[in-house]
Amino acid sequence: MHKLEVYRANGGYEALQKVLNEYQPGEVIDIVKASGLRGRGGAGFPTGLKWSFIPKAPGEKYIVVNSDESEMGTFKDRELLEKNPHQVIEGAMIAAYAIGAKQIYNYMRGEFMGIGQHFEEALKACYDAGILGDNIFGTDFSCRMYGYYGAGAYICGEETALLSSLQGDLGQPWSKPPFPAIEGLYKKPTVVNNTETLANVPPIITNGADWYKSIGTAQSPGPKIVCLSGHVNNPGNYEVEMGMTFHELVYGENYGGGIRGGKKFKALLPSGGSGPVVKEDALKAPITYEGLTPYGSTVGSASVVVMDETTDMVWAALKMVHFFKHESCGKCTPCREGTFWMERLLHRIYEGHGTEQDLEVLQSVATQIKGKTLCALGEFAVNPVLSTIRHFFDEYKAKVQGGQKKVAAKTAVPTPTD
């Protein structure tokens, strides 16, 4: 599929041709709006609506594909770029046509340097075939696309940080407004879409909005790639119809195939490290943008990490907080200082040197970060702490009371570093 011939043999770039020949840009936006497609990057923002925010006035505009994919347990965009890069390119070009952009950047995490080769080859094939460049398919639509590698920072997945990084500035988010739709890359109107989001676009054009809406649920239409990892028998990427339950995902024959070694399920991270952890009761929830609301969590980019009964939840929280501390860009105070402090507290508690007071302080530091940070990373960082405390308070209690030390830590425990 990563070869242009193969992609085209399977109807590839027909959606693009259709759009160029049959639709006005506004009509494309209307179709995507009608399809109900929501952003696959985590926030689930309606894609058509996002495109419609771009000012109609002529001028430089950009489409930026967000392939930073750095969330813990997320590995779907990687597979898309490796195995099916053309669908992403085609989706991005349709988006470019819809908003009047002539330049597309694909921002990939630095670690994609190797697999990005497939994408680069796909780009080259497109240029060679005249699919990218001037007067595409004989129309007056001209468009160019470029690949760009970041330096490997989670924060550069946040759209404004991504744009800063892409411009050659320090990869830090900016305070919105201005929103990228008005002042994005080089201060020009910009749409930032997740790789998977854009890969959904060509089939929507080919098959129509109604077809798309017939998949999934009313509020969360379409298929979704779920990255399943952790203590399951069959980890990997699964394309599921939205609305399927987490239980099916974990235990279903065609999916996770149950917990590894027949152990008991303990907890699940529905959206990598950034969403609150949920317990067994949430398994009956549907995989949709709304499904986990009653359980105090969200599906995010659907990076599902399953943890069995052997997992030390304090250890898990520490691992995740270490990640956020390490990835905090440092621009705003609560996240920069708060993640640092939380990690030190958690480490002490995990090591068995913590006190009841440390536990109290930990909770209060997490609450103190909430609602005060410049971007969502800071908000994400408190989720592992507050949700594990909420669901697994006993484990913390045991640690600060000195009863239980270093349970089941099989992986190296991060030691706080500066």
């Binding site: 920072a153 924060i155 320090l170 990869g171 830090q172 900016w174 305070s175 407004p177 501390k325 390490h326 990835e327 905090s328 860009c329 440092g330 621009k331 705003c332 105070t333 609560p334 920069r336 200082e337 708060g338 993640t339 640092f340 402090w341 030190r344 302080v361 209060s364 103190q368 609602g371 005060k372 940070t373 410049l374 500066d418």
Partner: protein, 846 residues
């Protein structure tokens, strides 16, 4: 009114201009919201999260768009969590709450976070006492921390960002003000953040480190003690310091500054200047000063300052009492009849200059009075069409035009460079004319590089083009520039002397005046935010014109009945013996290469701070107080008369220049000397009609300035000093009160002296009487350099880096050759060498 917005902050209703940020609106009603990263001079970034408040917006009916009302008829307001007051603009009906429990808690929380990484070494921190972090912790913090001290990070505390500025990495709260100042305000992005998270640190990317003329300003706006100047760090505690208002002793912008002084035992209980910081004066320098001004005070401790009068006895200069010296000077001057002359430097005060010319004109009946080194003409033109009263370069922007000719403002008057650049960023059109590229070119769409010798012809063309209707096609760049000027709402024109002779600068001033007068009744000249600004070489060249330090112009620009000798005639006459006695006030013509030696002079008296080359050859040397030791007034290039104040005790027996001159005056028959500078000023204000209405009290008047930075509030404390002692007064140009005739412009000969002509260009850090004593800046002093393009260099057989002797003002100077394609063909730029006028032939000596 659509440009005003009504809102409520903590129950107080107010109306502020549309676009105002919530944080500023609150400050306007003196209900300040705490900030760290926000600075009213820079765009908000919302990083520190200190300014979180609750902001509510009126609820509107979805269909009708009408405000929804509560039962009691008040509008319903919906609040959305905490928002940063520094990034949100006011909007109609907004309700801001800054005193609620959530807000109070948020402030406590943010402070607590900041302090988890802060070393709290306030007892040894230079900022302690004027530190926003300290202040806001006291005001809004909880007073305790739950962070275990042992969990803190340990970071480097003495990181030099170059030799001028040090970074304490532990203290930095990552507010980004320093980085943003360098990028946004002064466009020298030489420092930046490196790394991320708690490891975020400020690094310099230039060589030399922190290579910017403005670096010191970052130490003021840093809200903690993370950035300090190399000469002040660990030098004193802010509360021990006495602020004394002063002015830049260098540049004609009249930059307002403050000396921070302290009495020190190791200086025998004398007051010592510990640092210089900006003093807010929005129409002058806002709150910024260049590093040349900031680091100039070290001369005050120089051991070689003149402390007692010196007289030549048996060929040696020996110390004498004042009485003996003054008697000798008065006697010798009187004996010389009218074969006397007085030449002044342009850094002394109006009071000094006024009494200097009075001594000659009235006491000695001589009109031989001039500036020792007159570079730029046109003071008389400026008196008529100079920038109008009430102007402020901050007001220029979209729709306005600024002309800069023959000047490199960045090197000559950085404060003006900054303000012109910022006007361009606000949309003002710049028209730049010079024979080579200068830094302002990058902000201009109308750059005209004229051929050497073509300055006058080019400007003449521009003025002629401006007289005819705008053309739309086939515009020559000159015509296009002329159109830009004539279409502007306001026009300010700067002119300098780069590559020009004195006579040429006179023609330039007149041509620009005519440009400002073209529209006759609606002429630009005479209106606020319009007019001519001369890029004078010194802080008080303007005052020299006003005070009649001119052989043909008496105080107030009154033509002298019988003009005296000009400085170059004086120097010549000294050599031939036609002149018997010469009095030099704050001038070193021998050192500057203007006078070959004392020649045939009978008597040479020098009044100075140091034993200069000229002073060493004098018969009498009179020790003067520096501007830091006494009071007086300077007049800026925008004709703003401003006061400065005594900060430290005089060195030795040095006296103020005006006093010495008055005491000599008394000895030659003038009235008893006034005993205070303010009284001298009263006299001069009577003699100079333009200064009517001015006295020391009027000059000391202040008014509330916006933005409200500086002062000792908790928020912007330590940023700058509040202006408590005078914003100064601009004197009116003639055009403001009546029509001014167009000027005659003489034809100026523009023959090129050679195949490759030399142009001396300015450099901010060029050796000078005061700055030479600042050890810290010596490494940054411009080294003598000959900048030439490769093709010309090849013809002259000069290679990159080669050292060659070239002739500068009649003397050989060793310069290093630098090849640069920015230099026009046939031109060699000389940087870091003494001043020389016009274009000369490049003479490479041996």
């Amino acid at each position: 009114m659509s440009d005003q917005v009504n809102l409520t902050i903590d129950g107080v209703e107010l109306s502020v201009p549309n676009g105002t940020l919530v944080v500023d609106a609150a400050k306007m009603i003196e209900n300040p919201i705490p900030v760290f990263c926000y600075h009213p001079k820079m765009a908000p970034v919302g990083m520190c999260r200190m300014c979180l408040v609750e902001i509510g917006l009126p609820v509107r009916d979805r269909n009708s768009g009408e405000p929804v009302l509560n039962d009691d008829g008040t509008p319903q307001v919906s609040f959305r969590g905490l928002q940063t007051a520094c990034t949100v603009q006011v909007s109609e009906g907004m309700v801001v709450r800054t005193t609620t429990e959530v807000v109070t808690k948020a402030r406590e929380d943010v402070i607590e976070f900041l302090l988890t990484s802060h070393p709290l070494d306030c007892p040894i921190c230079d900022k302690g006492g004027e530190c926003p972090l300290q202040n806001l912790t006291m005001e809004h913090g909880k007073g305790t921390s739950r962070m275990d001290y042992s969990l803190k990070m340990k970071l480097d505390k003495h990181v030099p960002l170059g030799e001028l500025i040090y970074l304490d990495r532990e203290r930095c709260i990552q507010c980004g003000r320093c980085v943003r100042f360098q990028e946004e305000i002064v466009d020298d992005p030489v420092i930046r953040f490196h790394n991320r998270g708690r490891s975020l640190e400020i690094v310099t990317m230039s060589d030399p480190g922190f290579d910017s003329y403005w670096s010191g300003n970052t130490t003021d706006i840093c809200p903690v003690g993370a950035l300090t100047t190399a000469d002040f760090r660990f030098g004193a505690r802010p509360w021990e310091l006495t602020p004394v208002a002063t002015l830049s002793p260098h540049c004609p912008s009249g930059a307002n500054m403050t000396f921070s002084t302290r009495r020190e035992a190791k200086s025998g209980g004398r007051s010592v200047i510990k640092r210089i910081m900006p003093r807010q004066n929005e129409p002058v320098n806002e709150i910024w000063i260049s590093d040349r001004d900031r680091f100039v005070h070290h001369f005050a401790d120089a051991p070689d300052r003149l402390k007692k009068p010196l007289m030549r006895k048996n060929g040696q200069l020996v110390e004498v009492e004042w009485g003996e010296a003054l008697d000798a000077v008065a006697g010798k001057l009187q004996q010389s009849g009218t074969a006397v002359a007085g030449l002044s430097g342009d850094r002394v005060s109006n009071e000094d200059m006024f009494l200097f010319q009075k001594l000659f004109r009235q006491g000695l009946k001589s009109h031989n009075i001039d500036l020792a080194n007159r570079r730029l003409a046109g003071g008389d033109v400026v008196a008529k069409v100079g920038i109008s009263q009430g102007s402020n370069l901050l007001n220029l922007g979209q729709g306005d035009a600024i002309v800069v000719i023959a000047s490199d403002l960045h090197e000559e008057v950085p404060v003006w460079w900054l303000r012109v650049k910022q006007a361009a960023q606000r949309g003002a059109e710049l028209v730049i004319l010079n024979l080579r590229p200068t830094r302002l070119d990058e902000c201009s769409r109308n750059v005209i590089h004229y051929q050497p010798g073509q300055a006058i012809a080019t400007l003449r063309q521009l003025v002629n083009d401006a007289k005819v209707a705008a053309a739309d096609a086939d515009n020559s760049p000159i015509k296009a520039a002329a159109d830009v000027i004539m279409q502007a709402n306001n026009v300010v024109a700067f002119y300098g002397a780069e590559g020009l002779t004195y006579a040429e600068t006179d023609a330039v001033a007149r041509l620009l005046a005519n440009l400002l007068l073209i529209k006759n009744e609606e002429a630009y000249a005479g209106r606020p935010n319009n007019g001519l600004i001369p890029v004078w070489p010194h802080n008080n060249t303007q005052g020299a014109w006003d005070m009649g330090i001119h052989p043909a112009l008496e105080p107030g620009y009154k033509p002298a009945a019988k003009p005296g000798m000009r400085a170059n005639e004086v120097y010549a006459a000294a050599q031939t013996g036609a002149l018997k006695a010469l009095f030099l006030l704050a001038a070193d013509p021998i050192g500057d290469g203007l006078m070959a030696g004392r020649g045939q002079l009978d008597f040479l008296v020098v009044q100075e701070l140091f034993l200069t080359e000229t002073a060493a050859q004098a018969d009498v040397v009179l020790p003067a107080q520096s501007w830091a030791e006494r009071e007086g007034t300077f007049t800026s290039g925008e004709r703003r008369v401003q006061r400065y104040y005594p900060a430290i005790q005089p060195v030795g027996e040095a006296r103020p220049d005006w006093q010495i001159l008055a005491q000599i005056g008394e000895r030659v028959g003038l009235e008893k000397p006034a005993f205070a500078a303010s009284l001298v000023f009263r006299d001069l204000a009577k003699a100079v009609p333009q200064y009517k209405g001015m006295d020391y009290r009027a000059l000391a008047r202040v008014e509330k300035q916006w933005p409200d930075v500086g002062g000792d509030d908790l928020y912007y404390g330590g940023n700058a000093y509040e202006n408590r002692v005078g914003l100064g007064m601009q004197w009116p140009a003639a055009a403001e009160s009546g029509a001014v005739d167009h000027f005659e412009v003489a034809d100026v000969d523009s023959e090129l002296p050679g195949k490759v002509v030399v142009v001396r260009t300015a450099a901010l850090f060029t050796p000078g009487t005061l700055i030479n004593h600042t050890e810290l800046l010596q490494a940054r002093m411009a080294q003598p350099t000959l900048i030439i393009q490769a093709a010309d260099a090849a013809k002259l057989q000069l290679a990159q880096g080669e050292k060659v002797m070239v002739e500068v003002a009649g003397r050989g100077v060793e310069t290093a050759v630098r090849l640069s394609e920015d230099t026009p063909e046939g031109v060699a730029l000389l940087r870091g060498v003494p001043y020389q006028a016009g274009l000369t032939e490049l003479k490479v000596m041996g």
